[in-house]
């Protein structure tokens, strides 16, 4: 008992308490409740019914797997596209840009502070029929490219655009953890550039790359605005389904089941990969 009392007196525990309690109430609480609702009978608004699995059955037998697959597919494709886009920049920021690194960082971070839907709306203006891209092509070359907005590629463009910094910044930290002498030694021993990349750079930068990839993947999995603003009705992603179950359909248990499945899938990925990463080493490095 006194052990517990000693632990509670530790300044670290005291300092952790306010934020922890806040997140317990505002984060753990709602999620537990969503979990609870997922076992309630369809279209009920209280937690006092007998638990049932009927919502899980109905979700699994319905066509929701299609929006799950779309979300998985688009999120995976976003990560795959962002890797080659970000790697050269991350490499430059970690090893090449020197005093310019701060400026490059700022230029890439500033858009993050501007509302996502304003930026996506900007893309609508670019891709719109008679919009900036279409209008320019028409007046310069006389060709029309009006069919791009409200398609799967335009959603993908939105995802790649919005989540680029989330992939990039952890990658920079990862790459800066590669000691240069190690690469020199490998080159001296006759390794090719590809070998150095695959055998030395990639494994050493992996923690950062992984964090970026997980972050991007999960945020893209649960994204809502991209498919709504840039996708029109082209594809229904899982967050759309969750939203309509909670709002229009007023079916909380069904929305809860879909949320639980999305959270479980994302949570599994985070937890498995996070266990192999030491946060002190990555954040405290500076």
């Amino acid at each position: 008992m006194s052990k517990l009392a000693d632990w509670l007196k530790n300044p670290g525990v005291l300092a952790a308490a306010p934020a922890s309690i806040f997140l317990l109430v505002g984060f753990a609480g709602p999620l537990l409740m969503v979990f609870g609702y997922s076992f309630m009978p369809s279209r009920t608004f209280a937690l006092n019914h007998l638990p049932t699995l009927e919502n899980y059955y109905s979700v699994f037998s319905d066509s929701y797997y299609i929006s799950f697959l779309w979300s998985l597919f688009l999120a995976a494709l976003t990560v795959i596209l962002l890797f080659p886009i970000c790697y050269p920049i991350a490499y430059g920021m970690a090893k090449l840009f020197g005093k310019w690194t701060n400026l490059v960082t700022a230029l890439i971070a500033v858009p993050l502070l501007i509302s996502e839907n304003i930026r996506l709306f900007g893309w609508v203006l670019v891709l719109l029929k008679n919009g900036i891209l279409d209008g320019t092509l028409q007046s310069l070359l006389g060709i029309s490219l009006s069919g791009f907005l409200y398609t799967v590629p335009s959603i993908l463009l939105g995802l790649v655009y919005v989540y680029l910094p989330f992939m990039l910044f952890p990658m920079v930290i990862g790459i800066s953890m590669i000691p240069d002498p190690l690469k020199e030694a490998a080159f001296d021993l006759g390794a090719s550039r590809w070998q150095v990349f695959r055998e030395i750079e990639l494994p050493l930068a992996m923690p950062g790359i992984l964090i970026g990839a997980i972050l991007t993947f999960i945020l893209a999995m649960g994204s809502l605005a991209e498919s709504k603003i840039l996708g029109g009705q082209a594809v229904v992603m899982i967050a759309d389904d969750i939203e309509s179950a909670f709002t229009f359909a007023q079916n909380w248990p069904k929305g809860s089941v879909l949320s639980v499945l999305l959270i479980a899938l994302s949570g599994l990925i985070v937890f498995v990969l996070f266990r192999r990463i030491d946060l002190d080493q990555i954040i405290g490095r500076r």
Partner: protein, 277 residues
Amino acid sequence: MKTVGSSRTTQKFIWIWTSAVILFLYIPMFAVILASFSTQRYFRFPIQSFTTKWYTKTLESLSVRDLLWTSISVAALVTFFSVLLAFFGALAFARYDWKGRKLYQRLVLLPIFFPQAVLGLSLLLWFSALGITTSWQTAVFAQMIWIVPIVILIMSIQAYSFDPALEEAAFDLGATRWQVLREVTLPILAPGVVSGSIFAFLLSWGNFPLSLFSTGADQTVPEWLYAKMVSGYTPMVPTLGSLTMSSAALMLLLAYLVWLATGGRKRRAQAFTSSED
């Protein structure tokens, strides 16, 4: 700068690629600003004639004033409470050594790694189950779930460079815990507090997915923009969008200038202490 194994061509390629991607990141912003000056009600490119009438209209609109006021109130409260919670949260994250810290570090960052739309909907459920009517005040709570962890992360970077000996010295000299906090810990973490506040304010100012489900009858600027984009488009969308963007840019610029000014003071202070040694 020593660069191993990257030839001149590779270096050139990296520079060009980085510049191109940065340009790509700013394309939509330019598009919005461009559209805000177009005379036509529905955007067409190339633009036939330019006007500032939408700005006059937007600034005169009473409903826009309401939106701005709601957004500012939410952002101000989010900033204050997030920084307060995150200050101690960051100390627990980076400064103190305690049993359970590794677990705390992982759990406290979880909300950042969580799809915001789903979080917003869960909170909507939570509020209605608790019998709380959603309004802009509940949006403050909702946004904080996502913003507090981010501010903790930002302030931890500062807290990691903290030298515990400074606090210990103050304790040895007979300072109380409160005095140490106010006279030693707070000044050292001040740069983190400033950058944490800026991030908190701007992230709240631009937040959409969490506000969407937690503001009830009230509306923030990003919500209004979204509603008008989806149906009932008006040229005030790009105009208010441009205004929001420029206010964020202005704030960042101000913060940068303040940082330059205080950075200079810090360097002088360091020079002073090292000459004391």
